[in-house]
Symmetry: C2
Subunit: 206 residues, 2 copies
């Protein structure tokens, strides 16, 4: 695999390709093409071929891509061919929904510890885990060499939590707090704010 | 306001600007600059000025942007200066979390009807609403002139639901189903899949 830097926007599309390939595979299909993938995803087939070409030659002229082979390769590239422990900070309504959500574990992301600073929430049990005091966060992250965290605290608390996570050695943060977090450029952050998604659609409505 | 088409990527950044301006306003600040906004958001100040220039002249040389004025203007542009009724399809774990989530209504998006096709869920009450049979969906959308919907059903059901929504006249869909939906180009779709966000970060971890 070449050591040239692949644009982040390309990396961002790989999980979408992986998801589409997994659905095709689950539907019993063995081969696909950049044309079929592109139609399913609303992405140009040339774009898909170019994105994948950063990592090697995965398709064959005529037969296209063998779905399970390509799934394996993309999983390796994204490093999702392994299990990732993850911590969750915030056990309010959203944090509780995330703790109960089965979709993370089925993709290899295991919520191994949950933190909150509310005494009423600390000690609550969920899925075999006990909600811990945020004061324990750094110790748990260090002891278990955890690199990923989910933030589900209110906007007013999110930056403080992000700073604690970075200080503890977390390198990747998925934040549900409706605020843009500031972190060192050695740390990755992804934001999910459903209101932002709704607000960018109303512009187009009458 | 000019009738030239503004790129969708610009529209997509406006809710981020609006969110940052709202936080600044709530913190008591009256003026800001493209430089300050850019630093908070990790976006170049020239980009912010260029994005806003599509809609008029909002800043003044020297004093920058008056925060509440700019908030009002962006709200009008995005049409979020009004209330939007919205329906929710799917009342499993995720749908229930969404139904209980207070963050939509506080921004003007009101979940006015909830649908599921599971007889055990139909009739359940939440926030003063009763979960209805999906068979009623088209009638409710037509009667209430609803244009927005949230999909929170499993991947295997999502395309069928999306087709029903489009048929019923829905013009904007926020989907939490882990599948890329296919809709006519007159309909807007936004996807939220937290696994995709996690998978695009693991690439960068050791």
């Amino acid at each position: 695999m070449a050591e040239v830097e692949v644009p982040d926007i390309v990396i961002g599309r790989l999980p979408i390709y992986l998801r589409a390939l997994t659905l095709l595979s689950e539907a019993g299909q063995e081969f696909t093409s950049s044309l079929e993938l592109g139609q399913k995803l609303g992405i140009g087939s040339a774009q898909i071929r170019k994105d994948l070409s950063h990592f090697g030659e995965f398709g064959k002229q005529g037969t296209g891509y063998e779905i399970n082979f390509l799934r394996t390769q993309i999983s390796k590239i994204l490093k999702v061919d392994r299990e990732w422990p993850i911590i969750l900070v915030g056990f309010g309504g959203l944090g509780q929904a995330i703790a109960h959500y089965g979709g993370f574990a089925s993709k290899g992301f295991h919520v191994d510890a949950i933190f909150d600073n509310d005494p009423d929430k600390i000690g609550q049990a969920v899925n075999g885990k006990t909600v811990q005091d945020t004061a324990n966060l750094a110790q748990v992250v260090a002891d278990n060499k955890i690199k990923m965290a989910i933030i589900a605290v209110p906007a007013t608390a999110a930056q403080v939590v992000a700073d604690q996570l970075v200080e503890a050695g977390i390198e990747a943060i998925l934040s549900y707090a409706p605020i843009t977090l500031s972190v060192p450029n050695t740390v990755r952050v992804q934001h999910i704010d459903p209101v932002v998604h709704l607000q960018r659609m109303t512009y187009y409505l009458d």
